[in-house]
């Protein structure tokens, strides 16, 4: 029963060979195609430049400044921006530029780990809920609903209040409040992909549900997850800054942007640079991630566009 040996001509001559050649010459994976779309998007490029810039200053922070972020100097309190202190100094005479640069490390790290944490746990719960359905879905979805019923920052404050204020606990709190956002997204995607015909076709080939789940359902669900993760980066950084502002996040002398804002808020009129630069940094980073996120969404999901 061996099929005909792969000879040059197919055993079926005739009209088949006149079939119009509809395939495009260059084989491009859907991911590469999406990337091509992304780099065409000007706003996304601007976003990537902003984020790339912040990543670079975070990495090379020690090379960019001669001060340390905690060195105080009573003589230099609340100095306006100058050639020695580019962004001025704060009420304790610390160089704001230095603190911003080191603060980039904190913010990006918080964003990264909070998003990774929320992504991993949220996706896992979402997959379980979406694939197994029934009562498991019931329980997980209700928990998500309950968590989403609270204003997220309130929930984060409550969690930090329980765990105690520190940067690490703020990060955990932010991860937790973002779990239901990823969870619901993954769940709905899994439910819709599960009904696709190629999943049935995979089953008809005798594949196990575990393999189908991780090899076909999950990869086809990743596009919205990637978009949400990018946008989530911005939100997480904003939330970390909010917790820092409330004194529930990073503790002094950690140069956390939100904390810098709150420490300097009484000088907003006398020394506006003390709040301007941390505020501007937060805004730029969040804006950058949002621009990338929007670009990714357009690139990965052509149907969403307008």
């Amino acid at each position: 029963m061996e099929p005909t040996s792969p000879s040059k001509n197919s055993p079926f001559p005739g009209p088949e060979h006149q079939e119009p050649q509809t395939s495009v010459p260059a084989a491009a994976s859907p991911w590469k195609e999406a990337f091509r779309q992304l780099v065409k998007n000007k706003l996304a490029i601007v976003g990537m430049i902003i984020i790339g810039f912040f990543i670079l200053i975070a990495i090379f922070a020690p090379l960019l400044t001669t001060y340390t972020y905690q060195s105080m100097s009573a003589a230099d309190r609340l100095q306006p921006p100058s050639s020695t202190h580019w962004f001025g100094t704060d009420d304790l005479g610390r160089d704001i530029f230095t603190r911003i640069v080191y603060g980039a490390r904190i913010s990006l790290m918080v964003g990264f780990f909070a998003v990774i944490g929320a992504l991993v746990f949220g996706s896992l719960l979402g997959i379980i809920a979406g694939y197994f359905g029934r009562w498991i879905d019931m329980i997980i979805s209700r928990i998500f609903d309950i968590m989403l019923a609270f204003p997220s920052i309130l929930l984060a404050i409550a969690i930090v209040a329980i765990l105690g204020p520190s940067l690490q606990n703020a990060l955990i709190a932010i991860a937790i409040i973002n779990i239901p956002i990823f969870g619901r997204l993954v769940r709905s995607k899994v439910i819709s992909i599960r009904e696709e015909e190629y999943i049935l076709a995979a089953k008809a080939q005798g594949m196990k549900s575990g393999r189908i789940l991780f090899h076909h359902v999950l990869p086809n669900s990743t596009a919205p997850i990637i978009v949400q993760a990018t946008l989530g980066f911005g939100t997480a950084i904003l939330e970390a800054a909010a917790l820092g502002f409330l004194g529930l996040g990073a503790q002094p002398p950690t140069p956390e942007w939100g904390r810098m804002l709150s420490d300097s808020r009484q000088y907003i009129q006398s020394a506006p640079w003390t709040v301007l630069f941390p505020g501007l940094s937060i805004m730029l980073v969040v804006l950058g991630f949002n621009m990338i996120g929007d670009g990714l969404r357009d690139a990965l999901d052509p149907k969403m566009k307008s």
Partner: protein, 343 residues
């Protein structure tokens, strides 16, 4: 005489919904001989797709469930006999995509958009048989060649979105045929394709049937397709088999009023002004007719008995079976043009 490779006996697949139990497949029996092409014909919702999914063990559960009957699969290669209804899930996975393959109606959505054609062709094969990557690649090229895809060496490395519907259906057939199955179940394989491509796909299936001896269960609503490649036909209506027999007999001399109606409603290329015939009414919702013949409300020959009793499947000549009271009294042969019987 050789026993059939697949035998469906009194199969009943029900769907359990909020509105009660719906018998989508109700007491269906038929068989497929090795190497034959069997057509299952009927309107949408008559249970033909559910029948094929039942054989593959892929009825969505919940809400569907096989509640009765048996599906006997006799493998000549492994010399075994299994009831696919009671078989373990693990064993069924070993048969699915290996000895029993299936192709679907929608070639546009039946391929995973994220993987290359070559990978998808051999994904199932690599699971059922341990073969190396290189062997898999060669096998994929070979299968593409077999189903008549031009430039197979390039196409193996392309993605589904780069192919047309006809080519994708060929790829689906290549996937299904890659394991040399004994039975290929094709659920409306040509419905989504345009007519010229349809003919090519049918031609291909016929060739594979002839050359490899693969038995084909072809589910379709298109009698033209049936006439083209089937050896025998099963006509289904509202979850039941209403007529069964040799393709020539059924098409030339249909006995059941439903089959007659189906054939009459085919458009003819040569006649133009005449209004196209259609069977009055709609397919009843499965489960809505509890007593009597299910076709009775639409039947032009309906009489008292049809509404009171459920007709049995009668044997007419030879293998020709028909579920209709018109032929009950005279033990078989009855001229179908006589409309007033037993009134």
């Amino acid at each position: 005489m050789k026993k059939p490779v697949l035998e469906v006996n009194r199969l009943r697949t029900h769907f359990f919904t909020d509105n009660g139990e719906i018998p989508a497949v109700d007491d269906v029996s038929f068989h497929i001989e090795a190497g034959e092409v069997l057509g299952v014909v009927g309107e949408s919702g008559c249970g033909k797709s559910v029948t094929s999914l039942s054989i593959m063990g892929l009825v969505p559960n919940p809400p569907g469930k096989i509640v009765g009957g048996e599906i006997i699969y006799r493998s000549e290669k492994s010399n075994s006999e299994e009831d696919l209804v009671t078989i373990s899930r693990k064993k069924m996975r070993g048969i699915r995509g290996n000895q029993l393959s299936m192709i679907f109606q929608e070639p546009m959505t039946s391929l995973d958009p994220l993987f290359k054609i070559g990978f998808q062709i051999t994904e199932g094969l690599r699971k059922h048989r341990s073969i190396s990557k290189k062997e898999a690649h060669n096998k994929a090229v070979e299968m593409l060649q077999l189903v008549g895809i031009p430039r197979p060496h390039e196409i193996v490395n392309e993605y589904p979105h780069q192919l047309s519907g006809g080519m994708r259906q060929r790829v689906m057939i290549a996937i299904a045929m890659s394991s040399d199955p004994e039975v290929l179940i094709a659920d409306e394989p040509t419905t989504a394709l345009d007519v010229t491509i349809q003919a090519q796909i049918l031609e291909l299936m016929k060739k594979l049937n002839k050359e490899k001896g693969t038995a084909i269960l072809l589910v379709t609503h298109d009698l033209g397709v049936v006439a083209e490649i089937c050896d025998r036909v099963v006509v289904m209506y509202s979850g039941k088999v209403v007529e069964q027999g040799n393709v020539r007999t059924i098409l030339k001399d249909p006995k059941h009023p439903y089959t007659q109606g189906l054939i009459r409603s085919l458009p003819k290329l040569t006649e133009r002004d005449e209004r196209l015939y259609s069977i009055p009414g709609n397919v009843p919702k499965p489960g809505s007719i509890l007593k009597g013949c299910r076709f009775a409300p639409r039947c032009p020959h309906v009489f008292d008995r049809c509404i009171k009793e459920d007709p049995e499947l009668l044997q007419l000549e030879g293998e020709h079976l028909c579920r209709c009271f018109l032929y009950a009294e005279e033990g078989g042969v009855k001229d179908d043009r006589e409309t007033t019987v037993g009134s």
